[in-house]
Amino acid sequence: MKMESEVVAPKAGKISAINAKQGDTVETDHVILEIAD
């Protein structure tokens, strides 16, 4: 079964880094985005 999940921002801020691109396979707890204040 294919599962889809929406990942949401834990806080407000500006995206400071993106550590994955569309189509990338990532492991659990891989930091996809970093949000700066």
Partner: protein
């Protein structure tokens, strides 16, 4: 297989907690009705209560009264006190389907599971609000 023995002695529960509003309210008031079996040098446990509970089993409601046996001089456990119950670590309330709030305020958006980043919905420098959908994630 363990044989079933009718009328086998069972250990009495030490603490019975109530969860219904009716049970909690009546139990709180029942605490005030502690028996006064003291001062006679007797070691017989004091009977505290009754604590009234409403128990639901298979959608059928039962009213039960529970008495606590307390050693003379010992404080009662205050079953069903008016203090609100502490929520359990594993709450049954779950977030919305497929929604994963990662990091809990840390500023990192982590992958909730091994999977593929289906779509990145934001770019570097974009302003986001708390709870905003960022990447779309799917499990292969």
């Amino acid at each position: 297989m363990k044989p079933f023995i009718a009328n086998a002695p069972k250990p009495a529960p030490s603490v019975v907690t109530g969860s219904t509003a009716a049970g909690t309210a009546s139990a709180a008031s029942a605490v005030a009705h502690t028996s006064t079996n003291n001062g006679h040098g007797s070691n017989t446990p004091e009977k505290v209560g009754p604590y009234n509970f409403e128990v639901e089993v298979n959608q059928k409601s039962y009213k039960v009264a529970v008495h606590e046996l307390v050693a003379p001089g010992a404080p009662a456990a205050r079953v069903g006190s008016a203090a609100p119950a502490k929520p359990s670590a594993r709450s049954l309330d779950r977030p919305g389907k497929g929604t994963n709030k990662s990091g809990s305020g840390s500023g990192e958006v982590k992958a909730p599971m091994h999977g593929v980043v289906k779509e990145l919905l934001v770019g570097v420098g974009d302003a986001v609000t708390s709870g905003q959908k960022t990447p779309d994630f799917s499990k292969p």
